[in-house]
């Protein structure tokens, strides 16, 4: 080997993870672990009723108190995390799986294709979300996975629009013209040239969407179209606790706080991922 050929590699930066990402990862991680282990660590069965301990405030026996059926709120919150998170991530996955390809196509392909996709999205958006979900759900008997699909479809237009606007911008870049000049195919340009550059805003959006999906999922549960009682879901728990807000606020507070913490954690995770994934932001940081 000639010494001149030894690569003077561009000084590799130490892989610094943004603090945001670490905090987000920690919060989301803990919640995920708790949700997975819920049946094991829950102190009481989530549906174990006890008329004698109705609406008891937090105590050593019941850390988060009990609800109107005397069920342990902590256990219900832990178990509820499973359905809520499943709803949040599952629905977001569905809306991205449908929305991102459509958005890419809409932003890059011919005007006719763009018009067709966008007008279809307009139709979808013109339904109020709850109504659209109900439309999908009422045809068949309700179940949690159908609610997930419904929530996913409700959020498709938002994902399509976002992806499209990012794509429109990237499509103007000269490297896309260069890809056309080498006669590259449509799918390669969409998924290999444009998509990697479109991820940062999409990831942040995904964080937001997960939290919206949890909330909308809770709304469907409340309407009796999602999680079915007596199974536990944060949205369902808050709805059930509504009549006792003044007498026993802890019943609503526990799932509410859990939901807020999840929302914050997932949002931080999204922001952190964006920072870590974008090489330009990495470069900008260390000048």
């Amino acid at each position: 080997m000639v010494s001149a050929l030894v690569e003077p590699r561009p000084a590799r930066r130490k892989w610094r993870l943004p603090v945001t990402l670490l905090v987000g990862l920690a919060i989301t991680g803990v919640i995920l672990v708790l949700a997975i282990l819920a049946p094991v660590i829950a102190p009481y069965p989530f549906d174990g009723m006890n008329i004698l301990t109705r609406l008891k405030p937090p105590s050593a026996a019941h850390w988060f108190g009990t609800d109107d059926f005397g069920r342990d709120v902590l256990s219900r919150t832990l178990i509820g995390a499973r359905l809520s998170l499943l709803m949040g991530f599952g629905a977001t996955f569905i809306s991205f799986a449908i929305g991102v390809p459509l958005g890419l196509l809409s932003g890059y392909a011919s005007r006719t294709v763009d018009e067709m996709i966008m007008r279809a999205m307009d139709v979808l958006m013109s339904f109020p979300p709850i109504l659209l979900g109900l439309l999908i759900l009422t045809v068949t008997p309700p179940s949690i996975w159908k609610a997930m699909v419904a929530v996913g479809i409700v959020y498709v237009p938002a994902i399509v629009r976002l992806t499209r606007s990012v794509t429109l911008e990237i499509a103007q870049e000269e490297f896309i013209q260069a890809a056309r000049a080498r006669d590259d195919d449509l799918l390669y340009i969409l998924f290999r040239e444009i998509l990697p550059n479109a991820w940062p805003p999409l990831i942040v959006e995904a964080g937001l969407r997960v939290t919206f999906a949890i909330l909308l999922g809770a709304a469907f549960s409340f309407l009796g179209m999602g999680a079915q009682p007596p199974s536990s879901d944060w949205g369902l728990m808050i709805s059930d606790a509504r009549p006792y807000l003044e007498a026993a606020p802890w019943v609503a507070l526990a799932p509410g706080l859990a939901m807020s913490l999840t929302v914050i954690g997932i949002n931080l995770l999204g922001d952190g991922l964006r920072m870590a994934l974008d090489p330009r932001l990495q470069a900008g940081k260390s000048g």
Partner: protein, 688 residues
């Protein structure tokens, strides 16, 4: 010069905070500007010239720290002035014009108010009076119908007009000093020439001091008295303009001057670039900052940093300044052996058209009561040209003339609206499928913007490799060696294949773009402003690379540029484009000398050059062509701006083609004999 200069910067040191610690941006920068004097602050990107302007204006961000030195304005230390005093100074005694007029003007405020604002703020002038003064100021900067203009909004004005407005706004409080940060870089040459004229007049009229920040040495020659050359945050040379531009003291200045392509007849020659590139921020070499790139460097240059010391009426920071060879020589060297263009026509374009629909308007009234009007822009309007194998056709013209559209039509990135493109004898105008794939192999394109022409998320090797996979036609085991060979062909080491674009400099990225274009062994490459975004010294290396590749691989180029000097340097023939059509075409030497189309004549006259000694009155200045492209005038396209317009014939009849010599044609109503005379002579004769 007077004893007490208006502005004096003494040993200014500024550094920026970054993760790697404090990175020095300015180191011991000293200069002064006397009353009524114009000092040019010259430097390439990253030299720190804009930091100087920001430091004087007190606009350095929070990440910057002033490590030492003073800035004195009329004897007062700006750092010690109380904030309100400073506020009274800025925009009042001391004003500024930035590079991008569109970004500087407030889009939602009428022009008049923006010009009047400083008066109301600094002089506490009542609104009506200030507005009246603003109208007068707009008139002074050469804007016609100032009263109407004062009510207009920025988007209604062309770039040149916007820059005039900014100058009017900067001058309205009658400052003593005006700081101009690349004020003409975003403008076309003809507009740039007008703005420089205007600044020159205003300076004389008002005894204004100017700190003119620029990278363009031609502009320096045109407008400044003294020059201060900045490199990597240090002043390398300072002195009177003539000294710096004609007998430069520092090897860097000498190198810069050599690297600039000249508007001269030196075909197929090579420029002499400065080797290497600017040191990265925070990685300054020991000793002289320039020594790693200096061909005269000796031991002492590597060890100690020297002070700025006087020499021959200027100041220089160089150990070897006394013993340097100072013979002034031209910019380019001839190469002995080169391949001449062949006779076989490679690309033949006939009557090419591209129109863009602007939209539809519904008009009421008329015989049909309701009428839908379609408006369109004819971006390319009947262009015919031929390019032979191994030949470089230069395409010059201002922004909006349709150059890039034409280039993209030729590589079939844009579908044409009419006309025919024949490549290698085959009609490819509407080719698709396999025929288009073959065409893509033979015809490639290099883009302007090094920041956007490479996918930021893919390594260089992957970018080049993809072109090889699609168009290269090579067996799998040859792929990696071929990527290495392509990188080597553009002068980059093979390990660059592992880099991401953001780890490359602008010039290196442009080389990668060229390597990508070469992957399919093309015969013809459209170079769309390939050097416009690059610094002078880097520009020279890329131009040389293109010339070398042309000779080695028998490539033909369409070289598109707004920079006539760059076009003249590399092209065998030049076509000049105006408003979608070619108005003159011919061999480079013929186009660069008389007779010319009046537009070419104006362009040539407008280019600021280092050796320009033209007299004031023989310069040709074009009127501002506001929105020249939105509607094509009848007759000759150029008549609304033509300084040689004959009369109604120019407005009514499409001009005939006259041919002064073999292969050189001009589209103009004037006879060749008339076009051979300088415009000034014609004017004088008419007056006599």
């Amino acid at each position: 010069m007077s004893i007490d200069p208006l502005l004096r910067v003494e040993s200014l040191c500024v550094s920026y905070a970054s993760l790697n610690g404090n990175v020095p941006a300015l180191r011991d920068v000293s200069f002064s500007v006397a009353r009524g004097e114009a000092l040019a602050l010259v430097g390439e990107s990253g030299s720190g010239k804009s930091t100087v302007a920001l430091a004087i204006l007190g606009l350095l961000g929070s990440e910057a720290t002033v490590g030492g030195g003073r800035i004195l304005y009329a004897g007062a230390d700006l750092a010690r002035l109380p904030a309100e005093e400073l506020g009274r100074l800025r925009g009042n005694r001391l004003s500024t014009v930035f590079q991008d007029p569109f970004a500087t003007l407030n889009p939602s405020m009428p022009i008049g108010m923006q010009v009047a604002e400083p008066l109301m703020r600094h002089k506490a002038m009542p609104r009506q009076e200030a507005l009246a003064r603003a109208v007068a100021a707009l008139a002074e900067v050469g804007l016609s119908r100032p009263a109407e203009l004062a009510k207009a909004y920025p988007h209604q004005l062309s770039g040149g007009m916007q820059q005039r407005v900014l100058i009017a706004s900067a001058l309205i409080c009658e400052p003593d000093l005006i700081i101009l940060d690349e004020p003409t870089t975003a403008l076309d040459v003809t507009i740039e020439a007008q703005i420089l004229d205007l600044l020159d007049t205003l300076r004389r009229r008002r005894n204004l001091a100017m700190l003119f920040i620029t990278h363009n040495l031609g502009v320096v020659n045109r407008i400044c008295d003294r020059t201060c050359v900045l490199y990597a945050g240090s002043v390398l040379e300072e002195g009177p303009k003539d000294l710096t531009l004609h007998r430069p003291l520092h090897p860097y200045t000498q190198g810069l001057l050599r690297a600039v392509p000249q508007l001269g007849p030196r075909r197929r020659a090579r420029l002499r670039p400065i080797p290497g590139h600017l040191p990265e921020a925070g990685m300054l070499p020991k000793g002289c900052v320039f020594h790693p790139r200096c061909s005269h460097a000796l031991g002492e240059c590597r060890e100690d940093e020297q002070l700025l010391r006087p020499l021959e009426g200027g100041m220089v920071r160089c150990w070897r300044a006394d013993s340097l060879p100072r013979a002034e020589d031209g910019g380019a060297t001839a190469v002995d052996a080169h391949a001449a263009p062949t006779r076989n026509v490679l690309l033949d374009v006939q009557d090419l058209r591209k129109t863009y629909a602007l939209g539809r308007k519904i008009r009421f009234g008329g015989p049909h009561l309701v009428r839908v009007e379609r408006s369109e822009v004819r971006a390319v309007d009947g262009v015919s040209l031929t390019i032979r194998a191994g030949e470089v056709l230069g395409l010059a013209g201002e922004s909006g003339s349709g150059k890039s559209t034409l280039g993209r039509c030729l590589v079939r990135l844009i579908q044409t609206s009419g006309g025919m493109i024949r490549f290698d004898g085959e009609d490819v105008t509407d080719a698709g499928g396999a025929a288009l794939h073959e065409f893509r192999r033979d015809v490639q394109i290099v883009f302007q913007n090094p920041a956007s022409s490479l996918n930021p998320r893919r390594r260089v090797g992957a970018t080049i490799g993809r072109s090889l996979d699609l168009l290269g036609n090579i067996p799998r085991q040859d792929r990696q060696p071929r990527i290495d060979a392509l990188l080597e062909a553009v002068g980059l080491p093979a390990h660059f294949a592992n880099r991401f674009p953001h780890q490359l400099s602008g010039g290196e990225r442009q080389r990668v773009s060229i390597a990508r274009a070469l992957a399919s062994n093309p015969k013809f490459i459209v170079c769309d402003e390939p050097v416009s975004a690059l610094d002078v010294s880097v520009q020279a290396t890329v131009l040389n690379l293109l010339a070398d590749l042309r000779d080695r691989l028998q490539l033909a180029y369409l070289f598109i540029s707004h920079d006539l000097s760059a076009v003249a340097h590399i092209a065998d023939r030049i076509a000049v484009m105006y408003a979608g059509a070619i108005c003159e075409e011919g061999p480079t030497d013929a186009v660069l000398s008389r007779p010319n189309h009046p537009y070419t004549e104006a362009l040539l006259s407008a280019v600021p050059t280092v050796n320009d000694a033209t007299k004031e009155d023989s310069r040709i200045r074009l009127r501002d062509g506001a929105n020249a492209s939105s509607h094509t005038p009848t007759g000759c396209r150029f008549h609304p701006r033509c300084p040689r317009k004959i009369g109604p014939i120019c407005e009514q009849k499409v001009p005939p083609v006259v041919s002064p010599s073999e292969g050189h044609w001009i589209s103009c109503h004037l006879p060749v004999e008339e076009l051979s005379l300088p415009a000034a002579d014609v004017k004088n004769r008419e007056m006599a």
